[in-house]
């Protein structure tokens, strides 16, 4: 690689994408068909998500050095990002045929296949990558990413764990494992994983939205618990819901105690930094904040029952929970529509 291309590569690794683009373009002004610099420019533009320009640079590089694998690989990645999957797969295949033993090349091909929806083929290529570079965290991360797309959560979890064993600082593996936990309905572990991922690489923009997703999931659990407690209390007190009944009082106290113990039990492993993170997530999502505010009111209503023995407070709780369910449906539809 010549010095100009090397400088661009370093700037890209340092995350200085604007400087990298500028360097590449000025080097190309002197030597417009230098394949290494063209490839570097294409890689920078890919990182900047300017895919059609990245493709143009990769095309130029392919013209200048068709015998190298890298121009084809970059073409494939750009085409894949643009959704032109058949052409992307073709370019990726060309790259691996030129350089069949290189893990980076094979990784790119696997990613292209994955995005084209050919998950089985992608997994086969990823397995090859692991045999080429068994001690590299990224190889296992690739397997994990593909198998989690396939719904094979067991393999995915094992592969994420292996990636993290090889590189405990692998923020993406930590993050994606947390998302897996979230999908597997383990919100406590998901939250813990997100906190760790955040400590490793606080710049990731998906952190707070995912914490909010954990809170949504937790809110459903809370709702169900409160709902059950309320129904039980109201049924037990029957006709005398409007008066003091000892049974309502005792049941409400029991519900509060059990709920409190469960809360303490599931939150005791969370790091102290969790509270501000949760507050930030609530602030970033208004319907979520409203939901938790309303749930706090429900808990207050349970406390009122525990103090007075009036089961009628349950009517208020049911009203609030129904309104919250409506809110969740509306928000869910709206957000799905936007995506």
């Amino acid at each position: 690689m010549n010095t100009a291309a090397e400088r661009v590569a370093h700037l890209r690794l340092l995350g200085r994408l604007d400087d990298a683009e500028e360097q590449a373009r000025s080097a190309l002004a002197a030597e417009p068909t230098h394949p290494d610099v063209l490839c570097e420019l294409s890689a920078v533009l890919l990182a900047k998500k300017r895919f059609d320009e990245a493709l143009a640079a990769a095309d130029a590089a392919t013209g200048a050095a068709p015998e190298h694998e890298r121009p084809h690989r970059l073409r494939g990645l750009a085409l894949s990002a643009m959704g032109r999957h058949p052409e992307a797969v073709e370019a990726g295949y060309l790259a691996v045929s030129i350089e069949p033993e290189h893990p980076t090349v094979a990784t790119a091909y696997a990613e292209i296949l994955q995005r084209a929806g050919r998950l089985g083929d992608a997994l086969n290529v990823a397995r090859l990558v692991v045999t080429m570079a068994p001690h590299t965290a990224d190889s296992h991360f690739l397997i994990a990413d593909i198998t989690s797309d396939m719904g094979d959560m067991v393999t995915a979890r094992a592969a994420y764990t292996e990636a993290l064993r090889l590189d405990p600082q692998h923020a993406l593996a930590q993050h994606d494992l947390a998302v897996l936990d979230l999908r597997a309905r383990r919100p406590g572990r998901a939250l813990q994983g997100l906190m760790q991922a955040g400590a490793l690489a606080p710049g990731q923009s998906t952190l707070l939205p995912n914490v909010a997703a954990v809170l949504w999931r937790l809110s459903w659990r809370l709702r169900i618990c409160i709902w059950i407690a309320t129904i039980v209390i109201m049924t037990a007190s029957g006709r005398s819901a409007g008066q003091h009944t000892t049974v309502a009082q005792l049941l409400a106290i029991a519900a509060l105690v059990v709920g409190g113990v469960l809360m303490w039990h599931s939150s005791r492993d969370l790091p102290p930094q969790t509270r501000p993170v949760l507050m930030a997530a609530l602030r970033s999502d208004v319907p979520l904040a409203i939901t938790y505010g309303a749930l706090a009111l429900c808990v207050l209503a349970l406390v009122a029952t525990a103090v007075t023995g009036f089961a009628l407070f349950g009517a208020f709780i049911i009203l609030v929970l129904v309104a919250l369910a409506l809110l969740a449906v509306v928000v869910g539809l709206f957000r799905r529509g936007r995506r």
Binding site: T3, H10, R16, A199, P202
Partner: protein, 407 residues
Amino acid sequence: MSDDALLSSLLSAVAAAPEDVPLRVHVAGLLAERDRLTEALQHCTHALAVEPGNPAALAMLQRLTTLLAPQPESPAATPPPDPSPTGFDWRQAEEQVADIATPDPADHLIPSPTIEDIERPKVRLSDVGGMENVKQRLEAAFLGPMRNPQLAKAFGKSLAGGLLLYGPPGCGKTFIARAVAGELGANFFNVGIADVLDIYTGASERNLAQIFEAARRAAPCVLFLDEVDALGQKRSHLTHSSSMRNTVNQLLSEMDSLGGGNDGVFVLGATNHPWDMDSALRRPGRFDRTLLVLPPDAPARAAILEYNLRERPTSSIDIGKLVAATEHYSGADLAHICETAAEQALAASMEAGQLRPLTTSDLVAALREVRPSTGPWFATARNVVTFGNTDGSYDELAAYLRKHRKL
């Protein structure tokens, strides 16, 4: 009124008799009463440089440091300090360097730094508009101790380790570092991103060890590592590049070998992304002090606008109005606004066939086109403070974000 007449006559007396310790302490007291703490501190440290251990001066220093220490709110309208001729105590510094062994002959094989690398900047802290908070922190954490190394030692304050300036892009970190060197009258050795790339690509036969060596030979000097995150990335990010990983290790050991500032080399660093730096670089003896440089405050914005308009034809510019409309804009953004407005006025002049000077409305129009570039930085900073402030190293940033409702 008569009060300030007294002060200014005393200040000229000080200028006439710079070695008069009781006079300086008195003046420092008067300045402190007027909330001009930075200047007061300068006089005080100067007095102590003349007569280390003077009890009155020591008492005054103590009083000033307590006044300066927690700064919940920046003093409303502190006038910028006069460019008073305070400076680094060269006599003392040279004595400190005197007993360092002369380099052995092999050292002469090392290519010496080119002339452009070393300079003596003319800018002073008084050229930095506004930013009183930053200036006070610089004075207390860096300049003061450096003028009074013995005193600093007595207070258990080590000169080892560097000061790291961090903050959003284009907000004056590089500018302030140059002003610090100017303030000390020291040689200024600037290592920028281009030098870093030279190191990585082996383009100039120079590596980090040689840069530190050259700085030692130019001592006393300020070695400024601009964009230091490029040199000191988290090593875990660099699994693919062993040359970059080695450079981080080298930087760590070079900073350790500068222990105590005995070499007369003082390290300043600047970065937009302190969170991308290897955490080993933040340990004691390395970059253990940090200073947040935020977007320019109102007086700083006024200074930057005036500076950028000084050589352009203008007519009755309402600086106050522009300053009020440019909160959160960086220094570089403000320069860009002036540039854009000038382009438009030029176009209008060429169309009219005669010179039409820049007006406030040109600048207001340009301002609408240029958005503050600090937005993305603050978005990341918000995440960093929520997830990554476990050891309190970003408390200053957290306080700012909370105050401006960005958290």
